[in-house]
């Protein structure tokens, strides 16, 4: 079959909602896009442990500490599911880790913001995980089989993350004035970066959207962002808090909330490595990787030794 026929057969499969599996023929751009997206997603889970890990030793109670540890452990797990999915596209785990540590590969910019108070743990769970979930629910139906399966697993676990975040803020919102102020301050700082998580506006794109055509994505950035705004505007009322946007207003004609302009200069600055914590995050990943080198080597040496001992016994 010629490449054109193969591409046609491939698109037919996608149109018929047949999942693409690792050994199937796929266009090179499809492979590359998925690989980039899945590995960035995996890196986001791994780096995402850092802002929260920061608070494990300072959680206000044993209960909150146990919850936070469980959440951070889930994120490690999510990173591993996704690295496995990415490996099916022909890259190695080591290459991906190296690309993250060198700064070549990216992760979600949201994790380059600092977690300054305990209320940030709640705001991250509610807003950041809330935004991530909208994206991830959509990705459960993505066309690449291993990615879709990883996302189903992740979504099952992720809803606890968002719920614990909201509940933690709910407790603060019913607390002292200082606790309520802390809650509002965290919401103020995390709101705009959460909106940025969905990426640039649809109008920024001049090309036809190949990702949608290939059903890697099924909704555009603006669609997901609007869904998020509509959802959060209602939820924040239960906290008795406000969102830091004077332009938030119900639009009866659109049946959606209008909202203010995102600071895109800030967005691109953080993407390009100049956010508040970019350097700190990469340094922490590199330190962990370097300091773990002897553990990885020792585990391999031990496995080798045991294998040889078994061989000797058998002989």
């Amino acid at each position: 079959m010629s490449v054109i026929d193969l591409e046609k057969a491939f698109q037919d499969k996608i149109d018929k909602e047949i999942k693409i599996e690792p050994k199937d023929w796929m266009p090179e751009a499809y492979r590359k896009t998925n690989l980039r997206q899945i590995s960035q997603h995996a890196h986001s889970e791994i780096v995402g442990m850092l802002p929260e890990g920061n608070w494990i030793s300072r959680a206000p109670s044993l209960k909150r500490k146990a919850i936070l540890i469980a959440k951070v452990q889930d994120e490690a797990g999510h990173g591993l599911y996704l690295y496995s999915a990415a490996e099916t596209l022909g890259t190695s785990r080591d290459q991906m880790v190296e690309d993250l540590n060198s700064g070549k590969a990216k992760y979600s910019s949201i994790f380059n913001y600092p977690t300054l108070t305990w209320a940030d743990m709640g705001a991250v769970g509610w807003l950041v995980d809330g935004a991530a979930i909208l994206n991830q629910v959509m990705l459960c139906r993505t066309s690449y089989g291993p990615y879709a399966r990883a996302m189903v697993r992740i979504c099952k676990e992720e809803s606890f993350h968002q719920r614990q975040g909201f509940e933690s803020l709910l407790v603060l919102s019913k607390g002292s004035q200082a606790q309520r102020d802390m809650c509002q301050d965290a919401i103020n700082r995390w709101w705009w970066p959460s909106l940025m998580m969905f990426g640039p506006k649809d109008s920024e794109s001049t090309n036809s959207d190949q990702s949608i055509k290939w059903k890697i994505k099924r909704k555009t950035n603006d669609e997901l962002r609007q869904q998020f705004v509509d959802m959060i505007v209602e939820q924040v009322k239960l906290l008795g808090m406000t969102l830091p946007d004077p332009n938030l207003k119900w639009n009866e004609a659109r049946k959606h909330y209008d909202f203010g302009e995102i600071n895109w200069e800030e967005f691109w600055n953080v993407v390009k490595g100049n956010g508040p914590c970019n350097k700190q995050r990469l340094a922490a990943r590199n330190k962990a990787h370097d300091e773990g080198a002897w553990v990885r080597a020792a585990a391999l040496a031990y496995a080798e030794k045991r294998k040889n001992r078994l061989k000797t016994k058998a002989a």
Partner: protein, 122 residues
């Protein structure tokens, strides 16, 4: 075919836009842990089902890691791990030819046999 993907979403920022150093010089010759496929029995009486894969130095570590990665919420009562290199698979390109012999043998299905309604317990 040359397709440029200009649009990006959360988790999908093109590398040329990231300002990353692109420096992968720091390549160590570290050996990697092998890849393992994980199969989990979710409860007694059911088959082990493929859950995913992971990296581990040996089988014992693979089982322990599988417990941590795939059964944090009591998803399993038994785990199998197999080093991925030992899995042999059919080729999707041959699927048509490979599975074709079964497609015209409809007499293998109970619905092929037209029997009177009065016939009970069958």
């Amino acid at each position: 075919m040359h397709i440029q993907i200009k649009k990006f979403y959360y988790g999908d920022i093109p590398e040329e836009n990231t300002g990353g150093s692109g420096n992968t010089e720091k390549h160590t010759n570290e050996l990697s842990w092998p890849l393992w496929e994980v199969f989990i029995r979710s409860k007694q009486g059911l088959d082990h089902k493929h859950a995913g894969s992971l990296r581990a130095a040996d089988a014992e570590m693979a089982v322990e890691n599988a417990r941590d990665v795939y059964t944090r919420r009591q998803e399993g009562v038994s785990i199998w791990v197999v080093e991925s290199k030992h899995v042999h698979a059919s080729n999707p390109d041959d699927a048509e030819m490979f599975y074709e012999p079964a497609s015209d043998k409809i007499y293998r299905h109970p619905t092929f046999y037209d029997l009177p309604d009065e016939l009970k317990h069958m």
